[in-house]
């Protein structure tokens, strides 16, 4: 599946990427989502651009509160009332701009072309219906199938996601299934209409570790078998390493670094990405305490001026506070939003200690 994707052999291909709007299955350009709150306008997603090719897995990574989920919800226009998606951006899916579709046309896209699975499998199934019926309902809505055929397909889907004796489990109510099984049911429901793109919003966060690995394996396997593309939202870089082809790191509503998975781990450009990588626990250094990024994600009603990461950045200097950095193209498939790319001399190991301007604020 990935043999023809340019990203797997990126070393050989040197041409820089084309503008986002022309590419791939999904091309997000300048997506901005704002929420009117009591404390002012919260710009949860601020000018985000990325693309996803057919059959590819993109990881969307970042701390809580940096806009990952709002980005994914904005793609399907699932932003509720106080929130608004700026009309200046575009979300082109198979050539159509989803942001300008009618509500009815958008409903036909949801679940059918783009499906979504959520974080919390405990509450993402309706407690009053058997799970098979819920999957069959989704199938019948998008495919003109009879009751029987839809049920048969629901059972098939349950088998596909690895539920044992699916024809009996289909009659079970959600409360009779374990968390992992419920997440499998959610995946079955999301995949029941053969979507081209699956958005998985922290699909393993609420599960325990052994189940997490199983679910990730299942997702990777299904993605390869069904040939769909996937956006995997997570704050766990370990998950990213396992399943993603490319990674976009988000901070404070922006993409701060975008690269292939190999590049992110071998050659991280942005200090925030470096910080995230240092915060991964390692077996070989068990005795030391984990590195942390000092401070927390600022409030979306008041992003810091200049580089949004500068108050927490060990490398920050005057320029960072004064001027927001653009996304620098630093490799064929690698971009980073950091002034260090223009002033690489600042990256020297001696520099940080002397030049930290506002490490605590």
């Amino acid at each position: 599946m990935n043999g023809d994707s340019p990203h797997t052999n990126h070393e050989g291909v040197a041409s820089p990427p084309a503008p986002e709007a022309d590419r791939g299955l999904l091309a997000v350009d300048n997506l901005t989502t704002r929420f009117a709150t009591d404390r002012g306008i919260a710009t949860a997603v601020d000018g985000v651009s990325f693309h996803v090719d057919a059959g590819e897995t993109l990881g969307l990574v970042g701390e809580s509160g940096c806009g990952k989920s709002v980005t994914s919800l904005s793609l399907l226009r699932l932003i509720a009332k106080p929130g608004e998606i700026d009309a200046a951006g575009s979300v082109r899916f198979k050539g159509r701009d989803l942001l300008t579709l009618s509500e009815a046309a958008m409903r036909a896209v949801r679940g059918n072309d783009i499906a979504m699975i959520f974080q919390e499998p405990m509450t993402s199934l309706n407690p009053v219906y058997p799970v098979g019926e819920q999957i069959a309902e989704a199938i019948r809505l998008h495919r003109r199938l009879g009751r029987k055929e839809a049920w048969t397909r629901a059972v098939e889907m349950l088998r596909l996601v690895g539920i044992p004796s699916p024809d009996q489990r289909a009659h079970d109510y959600p409360h009779q299934l374990s968390g992992g099984q419920r997440q499998r049911v959610m995946i079955a429901m999301a995949l029941s209409c053969d979507p081209d793109l699956l958005i998985a919003d922290e699909p393993t966060t609420a599960l325990d570790v052994t189940i997490q690995a199983q679910i990730l394996e299942l997702l990777a396997d299904l993605r390869a078998r069904l040939g769909m593309a996937m956006i995997l939202i997570t704050h766990d870089l370990g998950v990213v390493a396992d399943v993603c082809d490319r990674v976009a790191v988000m901070y404070a509503g922006q993409i701060v670094e975008e690269a292939t998975t190999d590049d992110i781990f071998d050659n991280p450009g942005h200090p925030y990405t470096q910080g995230l990588l240092k915060a991964i626990p390692r077996i070989d250094a068990a005795s030391e305490s984990l590195a942390v990024i000092p401070g927390q994600v600022p409030s979306p009603t008041a992003w810091p001026g200049g580089c949004r990461f500068h108050p927490r950045c060990p490398f920050a200097w005057e320029l960072c506070a004064a001027e927001p950095p653009p996304l620098f193209q630093i490799g064929p498939w690698h971009r980073s939003r950091c002034w260090l790319e223009k002033h690489p001399e600042r990256r020297s190991p001696a520099a940080p200690d002397g030049t930290v301007t506002a490490g605590e604020s």
């Binding site: 974080q119 993402s124 199934l125 309706n126 407690p127 009659h171």
Partner: protein, 376 residues
């Protein structure tokens, strides 16, 4: 093995002759009695009223026909139900049970609630069978000089009133008005309340504000005063009473439903339903409302009791259906003036009201306990 099969075929034979007998023979006494006793009651009504039933084709009114059809239906339904129940294996609790089944099992353990629901069922059956059960005409006045204010006796179970009418028959016919009003008015108010509450909670924003402020407005009116006003303005027909009672009771349901929907809306299965491309009406009716039915059913059951009391109150004040139609509140009012020398006139209908409302409250409480997982 053969013994067991022989026993079961014997009990099946018994069960297909008399409903419940098969269960008794198989040693399932409680279940057998729940079929046997109601069936025997219906059968004895049929036997006791056989002359009336026989005379009916000539004189029968719509009332009488409904009563006969109901009786026949009950006899057949219990019989068929018992036969089917005997053949299907007893259901063992376990995985695969829906929430409703689990709740039903918990409800069955609450004896008071079960007794209450039997009483309610019996009353509704008696209401439909009234023409066959009532020993006297509830309205026609007999020879006043001889039958006025007779104390309770075998002839007149609850005694007679000032005009010599049989109190038992009047209470029996009165149940038609009270139970009908209670049921229909509550059905109206619960439907309206659920729809409005679900819309307010799910839509939020301006829709929510408008609906809830209107709800507050209706709630802030003293209901009894409103009722008296409307009933005084229009005629006191059954229809007006039902509409007025139904259209003033919905705010409580609306508030309960809206509160629950507010939290349901944020649950991920609703989000997932939107993400699957479902239309709003489908989400509302198939995914949101079924999840708030438990508190709605409880509030409906308690609401019937409330409505019956309110209707009795209105009738007591002389604002119910006009005489000579028998209503429970009306009979109590009649007897109020003669309480000292004829205690039975007001006492029996009064006790009936208490008993019925108590039954509805017991069932409501039982349902609340059974439907709320935290109280199980």
């Amino acid at each position: 093995m053969t013994d067991a099969r022989a026993a079961s075929s014997a009990s099946r034979l018994a069960g297909s002759i008399i409903p419940g007998a098969g269960h008794l023979a198989a040693g399932r006494a409680a279940r057998g009695l729940t079929f046997l006793l109601p069936w025997l009651a219906c059968a004895s009504v049929a036997v006791g009223a056989r002359h009336r039933i026989a005379a009916m084709p000539a004189t029968g009114s719509l009332d009488d026909r409904i009563a006969v059809v109901t009786l026949g239906f009950l006899l057949v339904a219990i019989w068929v139900g018992a036969a089917f129940d005997l053949r299907s294996p007893p259901r063992v609790p376990g995985p695969g049970d829906s929430q409703w089944l689990i709740a039903a099992r918990h409800f069955n353990r609450n004896r008071l609630a079960v007794a209450g629901s039997w009483l309610i069922l019996a009353l509704y059956a008696a209401m439909l069978l009234a023409p066959l059960l009532s020993p006297w005409d509830p309205i026609a006045q007999a020879n006043i000089s001889q039958t006025t204010f007779l104390p309770p006796s075998g002839q007149h179970l609850f005694g007679t009133d000032r005009l010599g009418r049989d109190i038992f028959s009047r209470v029996l016919y009165g149940s038609r008005i009270s139970l009908t009003i209670g049921f229909v008015a509550t059905a109206i108010s619960v439907t309206l309340g659920t729809l409005l509450g679900a819309m307010a909670g799910y839509a939020g924003g301006r829709v929510d504000s408008v609906i809830m402020r209107f709800t507050d407005l209706v709630l802030s009116f003293p209901r009894l005063v409103l009722l008296i006003l409307i009933v005084a303005l229009f005629d006191r027909s059954l229809l007006v009473l039902i509409l007025v009672l139904g259209l003033t009771q919905w705010p409580t349901t609306t508030r309960i439903v809206r509160g629950d929907v507010l939290s349901l809306r944020e649950r991920e299965f609703v989000q997932a339903a939107i993400a699957l491309g479902y239309r709003t009406p489908r989400i509302l009716f198939r995914h949101v409302i079924p999840n708030v039915l438990a508190p709605v059913i409880v509030s409906a059951t308690l609401g019937i009791g409330n409505t019956i009391v309110l209707e009795a109150g209105l009738s007591f004040l002389g604002l119910g259906p006009p005489p000579p139609a028998p209503t429970w509140g009306g009979i109590v009012n009649d007897g109020g003036s003669s309480l000292i020398n004829a205690w039975w006139v007001a006492t029996f209908p009064g006790l009936t009201i208490v008993l019925v409302v108590l039954a509805f409250n017991l069932v409501g409480d039982g349902l609340r306990d059974a439907l709320d997982p935290r109280l199980r």
